[in-house]
């Protein structure tokens, strides 16, 4: 019987060998593909065994997101808690089991979970894994100034609107407020409660209006038309216009906001100061829409704002039709007059308008906006610091200087006087986009301010208003800027 036993033995050993090969297939060959599958609960769970980094405000002390440690059947999990509640919900976002991630929690997930390609982090993470200890992510210090953020949220409370403030010289995003907001702690526990808080606003609280909310810019777009007019050399601040109270386009009258008292003979500077539509309508007809669109692109229109937020939470500004950007070929056919003072089919984000004000205040250079200031390892050593980056030069230095003084005249004696701050130079532009229905105006204030040099550029927008940009948006912008500008030094 021995020959048969030998053969059977070989067969049995082949069976066990097949088991080893089969297991090898799953653990070595198929494992990476399986790890990426959406329904792989183990990988979802694994995310929560990582001690995510803490997210701080700009002071490096105010905690915006932290971990809640909990042991579930022998395993330690880290769930997210947001001590500031709705304050920075849109910028910081959330990280939950059921609804994935948003905001910095999503865009900076690699840093927060220690999975980023930084050599020191890779070594630390690998050692953690070998030792079997908990993987700790890196902490993030954001650029958000929490006190000013609170001022912004209080100013917008109960309204539908947003505010974005950046530091013109660096692009640091100091305030990113969107109202109505939501409590990110509720996303996991009571998601339905968030939807009910929408109130009268047309869009749900989860939307970040500051970076992806699209609004009609109204007269704030005149800053861009003025930039194109001055920078192209076709006009100067002294160029003269005659305001009859309206402008004739295609044989029809396009009227000023207030037609009762035409300004008569004015120059370019005064036209911006008092937001005279007829002058900009005339300018638009002479410049043509292509040139204005070209300048808008230099300021960042028609591209996602390069801020460190997830792609889905940013929207490009520009001419829209049926929810999508108007193609290049269609641009030339838009109504140049209405386009020049911000009507037509223009839609912009508050962040984009803050970038425009920032570029004017920053010698004509657009800086890339960013929220992540410093990334710190768990032992507090610095992993990386974001270096300010120029997006591009939008306008000449001289043009910027001319625009600065023109916008300062808006605040000192034009439509934006409500934004005056004593001892601080403030320049701005109001905007009131009429939707044709009473109490449905979209109002704007776009501004920059600083003691010696501009320290902040801001855009504030509110929807469903019966007032104007100068009366509703400007006071809110003023309060936020006051909270951001360094206090006057008494020593000198």
């Amino acid at each position: 019987m021995n020959p048969q036993i030998s053969r059977l033995a070989v067969a049995a050993l082949v069976l066990v060998t097949a088991l080893i090969l089969g297991t090898t297939y799953w653990q070595a060959w198929a494992a990476p593909g399986l790890a990426d599958r959406q329904d792989n609960a183990i990988k979802v769970v694994a995310q929560f065994t990582i001690k995510r980094g803490t997210i701080y405000g700009a002071d490096g002390k105010t905690v915006l997101a932290r971990n809640l440690r909990r042991r579930v059947s022998g395993q330690t999990f880290y769930f997210r808690r947001y001590p500031q509640g709705p304050l920075t919900a849109h910028a910081v976002g959330y990280s939950t089991r059921a609804r994935s991630r948003t905001g910095l929690e999503r865009s900076r997930n690699d840093f927060l979970t220690g999975a980023n390609a930084n050599l020191a982090t890779i070594v630390d993470t690998a050692l953690d894994r070998v030792r079997g200890s908990t993987i700790e992510g890196n902490d993030i210090v954001t650029t958000i100034r929490t006190r000013a953020q609170r001022v912004a949220m209080d100013g917008l409370a109960g309204q539908c609107g947003a505010a974005a403030a950046i530091e013109p010289s660096t692009g640091k995003v100091l305030v990113l407020a969107s109202s109505p907001s939501y409590d990110p702690n509720l996303v996991e526990r009571n998601f339905a409660a968030i939807g009910r808080r929408a109130g009268p606003c047309p869009i749900a609280p989860l939307l970040d209006r500051a970076t992806s909310g699209l609004f009609i810019p109204g007269s704030t777009f005149k800053v861009l038309t003025a930039a194109a007019a001055l920078d192209s050399g076709r006009f100067t601040p002294e160029s003269a216009f005659v305001d009859p109270g309206y402008c004739i386009e295609y044989g029809k009258r396009v009227e000023n906001y207030d037609t009762s008292s035409p300004f008569g003979r004015i120059n370019f500077g005064q036209a911006l100061q008092h937001s005279v539509n007829s002058a900009f309508c005339e300018m638009g007809k002479q410049l043509g829409p292509d040139l204005i669109v070209d300048y808008a692109k230099r300021f960042g229109f028609y591209e996602d704002p390069p801020i460190d937020l997830p792609a889905g939470e940013r929207a490009p500004s520009g001419l829209y039709q049926d929810g999508t950007l108007l193609p290049q070929a269609e641009q030339s056919k838009v109504d140049p007059g209405r386009f020049a003072f911000g009507q037509e089919r223009l839609l912009v984000t508050p962040l984009q308008m803050a970038m425009v004000a920032g570029a004017v205040a920053n010698d004509g250079i657009v800086m890339e906006p960013y929220l992540t200031d410093v990334v710190r390892a768990p032992d507090k050593t610095i992993v990386s610091t974001t270096e300010p980056d120029e997006l591009r030069r939008a306008i000449k230095s001289e043009t910027a200087a001319e625009l600065v003084s023109m916008m300062e005249s808006v605040v000192s004696g034009g439509t934006g006087t409500a934004a005056q701050i004593s001892g601080v130079r403030v320049g701005g532009k109001t905007g009131t986009a009429e939707t044709g229905r009473a109490g449905r105006n979209t109002v704007w204030f776009v501004a920059f301010a600083g003691r010696e040099k501009p320290e902040v550029a801001i855009a504030v927008v509110l929807q469903n208003q019966s007032g104007t940009g100068g009366t509703v948006a400007a006071p809110i912008a003023k309060q936020i800027m006051e909270a951001l500008i360094r206090p006057a030094s008494n020593s000198s």
């Binding site: 021995n2 049995a12 066990v16 088991l19 653990q27 198929a30 399986l34 790890a35 329904d39």
Partner: protein
Amino acid sequence: MSARNRELLNLVVVGTVVGVAFASVYIAQREVVSTESLSYGLFFLGLYVVAHLVARATVPNADPYLLPMAGLLTGLGLTEIYRLGEDDAFRQGLWIVIGLAAFAATLLLLRRDYRRLESYKYLFGLGTLVLLALPVMPVIGQTVNGARLWVALGPLRFQPGELAKIFLILFLAGYLREKREVLAQGRLKDLGPLLLIWGAAMLVLVVTNDLGGGLLFFGIFLAMLYVATAQVWFVAAGAVMFVAGSAAVYTQIGRVAERVRMWLDPWSDADGGGYQTIQSIYSIANGGFGGTGLGQGTYTDADGNRLIPYLNTDFIYSALAQELGLIGISAFLLVYMLFAARGFRIALLAQDGFSKLLAVGLTFAFTLQTFIIVGGIVRLIPLTGITLPFVSYGGSSVVANFVLLAGLLLVSNRANAGAGVRA
């Protein structure tokens, strides 16, 4: 060094390995190091030293590697069961004590000459049928997980199929030893009793819905028939019968068709029939090369809900593969391979036909059972619920496998003593 001294030395090594494994789980679970984990290890080692002393007294010349390997497998199995749930581990520990007692009892009862069992071969054949039929009986029969495999007597629940496996091997060893010459000549009428027993067994298995058991019994039958007669055409005919039978069963029994469909594409019903296969594969894949480490695998979601059903019985391999990784689980499978190799060696060295057939049957049963469950988990074959020998949670399985081990040691002892071989 004598065989039994070598066995003792191996047991000390196994005790150390299991102790370290248990300490690893204990530390990962409690985040503390304690002497409690050490005492568990020592108690476990003590149990096996007692079993070793019984072997020293009854089968001094037997193979010195089988008992330590069984110790390693039960030890790691118990460690993993403890990791998955402490209550089950306590019960499993109790079953291991009972299993070792059965091991010692078998050795003591049959120490003079186990071959006298050969004369009771028809009794074992009948016993096989009775044991298999028990779960189908009213009152005492119980259905668990869709298969009617259990007998309940008061608080005790037992799976008689595990013991029936050993009875079948004893019957086949005895019957084939007697009839192998005539069978080899192709006298079909001698196949009668064989086919009768086998057919009845198959019928019972189909009725009880135990597909894994059916495959196991059929495999044992074919293997032993081949070894006894050297007729490849028996195996070929058997294989044809199996394929034909499978095709018939496939069309007739929905459960079988479902299993095959989930084997080919578990993702076609990821939340239903394919769920356990998919989760078990995720678990294995999560181990990667090095594994997560004992006690650190992920078996629950973040709310503490179990991801894989029947994790410590049918799917314990998925749990071990995740925590040990490819390196560890390969070593683990090599222990099974080594166990099989030693078993076949015993069969080769045995002097008489009954001993050879008995050793071959026991060894092949052990290997095939491992293949059926692990092969099902890694999707080499359709998945059928059956225990992983010595490792899975389950009393009947542990006890039956210890009796199987005792049988191999008895054959080995006699073979080595007779041949003067120093194992």
